[in-house]
Amino acid sequence: MATSPPSTHSVGVSVPRTDGTAKVTGSARYIDDLPGMPGEIFGRTLRSTVPRGVLRGIRLDPSFDWSDVTVVEARDIPVNAILMISEEQPVLAEGKILHAYEPVALIACPDRLKLDRAARAITLDIEPLPAILDIDTALAGKDVIWGEDNVFKRYLITKGRGDAEGRAASEAGIDAALAACDVVVSGRYETHHQEQLYIEPQGFVAFWDDAGVHVTGSLQCPYYVHKVLKRALDLSSERVHVTQAVTGGGFGGKEEYPSIIALHAALLARKSRRPVRMIYDRTEDIEATTKRHPAIVEITTGCDRDGTLRALKARILMDGGAYMTLTPVVLSRGTLHAAGAYRWQDAFIESVAVATNTPPNGAFRGFGAPQTIWAIERHMDRIARAIGKDPVALRAQNLLRSGDTTATGQTLGLSVGGHACLEAALAESGYHEKRAAGPAVNGRVARGIGASVFMHGAGFTGSGERMLKGKVAIDLLPGGRLQIRTASTDIGQGTETVFRQIAADAAGIPVTHVDFAVPSTTVVPDSGPTVASRTVMVVGAIVEGASREIAERVLAEQAAGGGSFTEAGDRLLSREREVSCLKVYEPPSFIQWDDTTYKGDAYPCFAWACDIAEVEVDLDTFEVTVKNFWSATDVGKAIHPVMCKGQIEGGTLQAIGWALCEEVVWKEGLIKNPRMTNYIIPTSLDAPPFHTTLIEEPWPYGPGGGAKGIGELPMDGGAPALAAAIEHATGLIADSLPMTPERLHTLARTA
């Protein structure tokens, strides 16, 4: 392991993680490790057991002793609404039930065993209604559960001949463009739910005092929780205090839901006048919290006989679940990635997200892109098959380069590393030789290799960062130290270490001289959410800028009054009492985006990658073993190479799970496998040897010499690379996920 250098050059060096010792030795305190507060009671949620119905009432068994049980119902909530994009999701159901596990009432009690009995002494009087459980039924619109047509959101991206006045003319245009092509290929691709399965379930502790409400818990985005609490509890900003506890993973799953559980705990604390602890067990966590949106993507493309891509027509359908939550943003990112990493003259990409009576789907690493990248990458393999061309050659021929324009008309300029990634991964893996040799069959086991190429927009979409105005503060502390105050949280991915490295180098001080304030809305400014591959690239850039400004003031003091950096800093502090810099993110001015036409610079830049999977398929049982996984990723600049590779390998393993074994089993709107023993994620033994290459095509506006966001990208390419490898090994063509042995067996039987 590398050790922290005494020098001031920490960027690019894999310094020890600053949270590492505490986590490895067990001294880190996650929310349920925090000792109970005096008078603390335990809270619990009563949930609907049907996917849709009318809530007639809540009955408390009169023979039960309710004296020490607090019960919160909808009428106890100042504003019964969870404020995300819209306000339609109630904190507790009132009148109508729209999904199984929907919260209906909250209870709390000092005695956890009694709490369990109390839960059974309450009857939720729900009259079931027929439920809408899939996209097709929602689209058919016979029964309406949201708006006028069950549609949460639609987008349309048009380009070239697909771009005309209005949807109908645009569609006619793309159809004409397709008709003029040598080869037209159509396909339909499906993806399924995925549970984040962060190792630490959701949990919060809430209490009230003269300053207002305090909630501490496992979360990604302190200010999202702040906003939701403020609205539902009808409080002013200063009266809401949200603090992050050490957080055991999120992957997007702690983007929306912590607002809900924090609010539940706060409501129970408000009514009981006691501190309340709410910790989900694994089953409740899997059942109630958000998952990856299932999607159906239909694609028709036209190309020349030599494989030059011309026209793309795509239709994306996503299942948003019962409430809107963040679905429009997920759909947006999915739509913006549907064209893949390729050049198209003409494009028409439309997308629709619908409401169903299933728990709301939400943020999950990749945020809509893995679904559409699965589709376009599988479709590239289909085109290659149709024209008899090597799938990698087809990709190389059409892969975007600097100077090309994307489907939204964004002209790519700097830091466009697709080709470099492709070449590196091909060379490392020996792809061409293995592919040419054909599937290696040894007895009843066949080995194959397959590739995917993809890009992922880093940072918020379009004008997101401009509107958001993310902020950080850097303080000068005594002893020549700096403190970073940010709402960008470390949820296991290494934020606090990487930010320290960036600040240290910007200020010219050792990384051990930088502190990271506990993210609490009372002390840290709103840096925006910890999402969208934006932490290092966007927030890191202002950490760097603000640290440099503070250092410049100290250096000026040093020049004027002499002494060391520390002495000059201490002098400055004793004179000015407070030396801080609050910096607001300003995206590069050339980035222009039109939210109404969906044209322009969808993202400031993209991270690029090529994944190559080598698999063995047991021809008797269809078990797939991933033998090797190569990944070459253009990260701009690796601030911390070990953690950067860790993100790539971990994200890829999550993609392997999504592709091969993870599956939420549904029955009439209920989840049949809400446990770690039957929601199957890969174990370390299922993890293949990873061969990860970092390519650095610097993005000049990123920190540390050009870092780009790569948190989500590794989730995008694993599934299609595996599908291509399985196809190479067996000839089985999977267009739907997951590729479990059962499904491959069915494919083989029907092939």
Partner: protein, 298 residues
């Protein structure tokens, strides 16, 4: 569930086997809840899924049998291997007699949960829980093992074939403690198979698992023991396959005959872990693969 939700229980560590048998007999006769605890890897999981907080007159009594000398130890006496009910999978994996004479047990042990479970879990617990997915039971079925049980009435020996009666039910009485299993071993070097088709490579419950041991003389099988997990309400003994494969020279076995025998021996179902069709397909494939390895032209 968290540890704070664990219901209260009383725990004792009896001094010896007669002590366990006596306490157990008395409590069972009074219908008082009593648990023998070996590795605890099944029992603890049951605590989470049990119907919560039924009103109980008395606290459940947990008797820790994991350290009873009578239940520990693995011994080889001639061709007879005796494995204590409280020996762990890891004990088995490391035992020289198992490695030399019953390598299938060692191989099976590697597929149990992961190393942490192997270090605690026991054959006694696996047999008592009697899940049709139990890997240890499946391996013992192939060896046609004999259960040695003890109660206040003394020792009783239960041949594997008369052990299982229905889903998680057996002919062992509620007051009988499993002391050991005994296996009449095939000659050293005899062919065997352990093939677990699970959900992943560790911490996995069998979708289908095949255990097999055989003794081959020329082109004939003189002994064939088989067990299969997760294809029936109890561990499948594949009796038709056994009869078929020992009734004629290996060269006369056909894939169609084998498949038909397997189909008649198993009755898989759809559940959250897998499907009926896939299980039936795997059952046929793994049996054919074993017989192919033994020399059948299939």
């Amino acid at each position: 569930m968290s540890v704070s939700d664990l219901r209260l229980f009383e725990m004792r560590r009896p001094a010896d086997l007669p002590d366990v048998c006596a306490v157990l007999a008395e409590r069972v006769s009074r219908s008082e809840p009593t648990v023998l605890l070996a590795g605890g890897t099944d029992w603890l999981v049951e605590q989470e899924t049990r119907p919560a907080f039924a009103k109980e007159a008395a606290l459940p009594l947990v008797l820790d049998v994991s350290r009873l000398p009578a239940l520990r130890g693995i011994t080889l006496d001639g061709d007879r291997l005796r494995i204590g009910a409280a020996a762990t999978y890891l004990d088995m994996r490391r035992d020289p007699a198992v490695l030399a004479r019953a390598p299938m047990l060692e191989r099976m042990g590697r597929d149990i949960g992961a190393i942490q479970i192997q270090a605690r879990g026991t054959l006694g617990g696996n047999l008592a829980t009697a899940s049709p997915a139990a890997d240890g039971v499946t391996a013992l079925a192939a060896y046609d093992a004999t259960l040695v049980v003890h109660s206040v009435r003394g020792e009783r020996r239960i041949p594997f074939a008369s052990l299982q009666t229905a889903y998680k039910r057996s002919t062992r009485a509620a007051d009988e403690v499993i002391v050991a299993v005994e296996i009449d071993l095939p000659p050293a070097g005899s062919p065997w198979i352990w093939r677990k088709v699970g959900t992943r490579r560790a911490q996995s419950i069998s979708k289908v698992a095949l255990a097999g041991v055989a003794v081959r003389e020329g082109d004939r099988l003189t002994r064939l023991g088989l067990g299969m997990a997760s294809v029936a309400p109890v561990t499948a003994l594949l009796s038709r396959v056994r009869t078929l494969a020992t009734s004629r020279p290996l060269r006369d076995l056909t894939a169609a005959d084998i498949d038909a025998a397997v189909d008649a021996d198993v009755s898989p179902i759809d559940d959250i872990r897998s499907t009926r069709d896939y299980r039936a397909h795997c059952a046929r494939s793994v049996v054919r693969a074993f017989l192919r390895d033994l020399g059948a032209p299939v």
